[in-house]
Amino acid sequence: MREQTEPRVKVFPMSEDTPTGLAGGAAAAREEPSGRYSSTRTPASVALEAAGRAHRPKEDAERPAVTLDNVKVSFAGHVAVRNVTLALPARKVTALVGPSGCGKTTVLRAINRLHDHTGGRVEGTIRLGDVDVYAPDTDPELVRARIGMVFQRPNPFPTMSILDNVTSGLRFNGIRNRALLREAAESALRHAALWDIVKDRLHQSALRLSGGQQQRLCIARALAIEPDVMLMDEPCSALDPVATEKIENLITNLAREVTIVLVTHNMFQAARVSDNAAVFLLDEDRVGELVEVGPTVEIFDSPRDERTKQYVTGHVG
């Protein structure tokens, strides 16, 4: 009997599939034929399926939302990540993937100048549209007002109500018009799929919500200032599978209007949700660097760099 031909994509050990157990769940939602623990579920196959069903109303040939050019970030002389040259296309989801400690979060936080107060030194150029983010005459507060950020653990302001949390960004930026605040809050909460849940308890403390709801509140808070770019630092890592699925759907919906940069160490999540992927790995000096970037499907299915191949097949990381 002839051996079954090698599947077109590499086979993964079962354990890769279990951390969030999502592949199966999301697949079921998308009416997929494969079962939960099918041996052909790999990031590449997931990406292929997601890409196959995607269609954009118009093809975006516009300039990238954010460009990074030869960016290097160091802390007290010690380099954390370097050789980052990357263009983040507008209104697409770009995933920054790689094992922990390779600089993905560092690069993300460099985009909205969060390293200003942690002593990180950023070299190279980062542009938000036309604006050089680190130019001496650029105001970091204004840069941050155009970028929304969601953190690893949900961090709603503990002393504020739900409504105050959502409108906080607007109020920080000088908006006082009550009508505008309410309108923006409702819109943001709807986009975060939270409106129906909280509309009757807007004045309760934000801490009464569950973990997943709090994270969606943080997303709403970031959305309320109408940013051009959303930075998300492993937003689902502290959440259960159900909450994770909701947020992944959210990301997919949001991407129609906002550019999203998503840091994740979960390859399956990247495959499900992102259009492009950038792979970060440690080089020989144990310094993080950008190894390869491209459409998600290609990265997982037919990577060009050998190290990327090693990573996506589970041999490293």
Binding site: L142, A145, M149, F151, N155, M160, G169, N173, A222
Partner: protein, 335 residues
Amino acid sequence: MTVLSGASDLASVKAAVRHRHARRGGRAYVVLRWAAAGIFAAILTGLVVSIAIDSSQAIAHSGIGFLWSGTWNPTANQFGAGILVVGTVVTTLVAMVIVVPIGLGTAAFLSELAPRWLASPLSTAIDLLAAVPSIVVGLWALLVLSPMFANHLEPFLKSVPVLEWFFHGPAYGPSILLASVVLSVMTLPTVVALSRTALSGVALADREAAMALGATHWQVVREVVFPGARSGIAASLTLAVGRALGESIAVAMVIGNSPSVPHSLLSPGATLGSAIVNQFAEAEPGIGTSSVIALAGVLLVLTLLVNAGGQALLRGMGPGRLRRRERHSITQVVA
């Protein structure tokens, strides 16, 4: 070496050990410890009881109206704590008015603005203030501050039109204002140390969330850090009030020992603590001393209430957040 066979978890190990050493004459230790705890409990109850007993004579004489009667005139055999309570409250209040902005401003500076190499020695300096004996503060206030106030500050205050309502009348030195300043000097370290801990303890994640929305540094501090430090700051203020209420010797040296209604902050006055110090020596044995002791009782109740509140707030602040070195300096300023 004996391994306690069959002891499969720590709790049973501990129980077995206790059982063992009870048989072995480690009983001496148990007795000693219980004795110590017992002594301590005895002290606590003894404190309350002895003061209560010794003040009974005064209460019998003046009735329960002792607590609020407005006259304290030993020569006329009239003993009322009311005016003294008023004096205590007024001095503490004015002290808080001084200490709150300065203490919180300093705490904010040390926690949010100062670079680490500066914040550390400065906060040590302020903590050292807590170690200065109150008698030394009193001496300094009496011999250095009082002339300064009489010659420069008080005329100045009297000349400012709006403040005149608070500051008028003859000013010879001893005054409620001076006493309040002394109290603020003594409570400042408490407010600064605890508030600074509370401010520093606000999670970085919350600050970053605000920064990521476009807030300026001051906005982050005002909207996130200060509200987040609310309970710690409240604890520090409450404990400071508790300390101010009980401070006696330094206040006694500068307040003028005049248990009459003050007409301005520049006039002399008296507080519970200062009255105990100043009146004790001349008090007539019997009713006189008993009344002084009764004052101590009133002071005790007052401070216990305030301090219990402060301790509760302190506990609500988050016990896990204090690092060891902070705990040491706090022991110094709170104790």
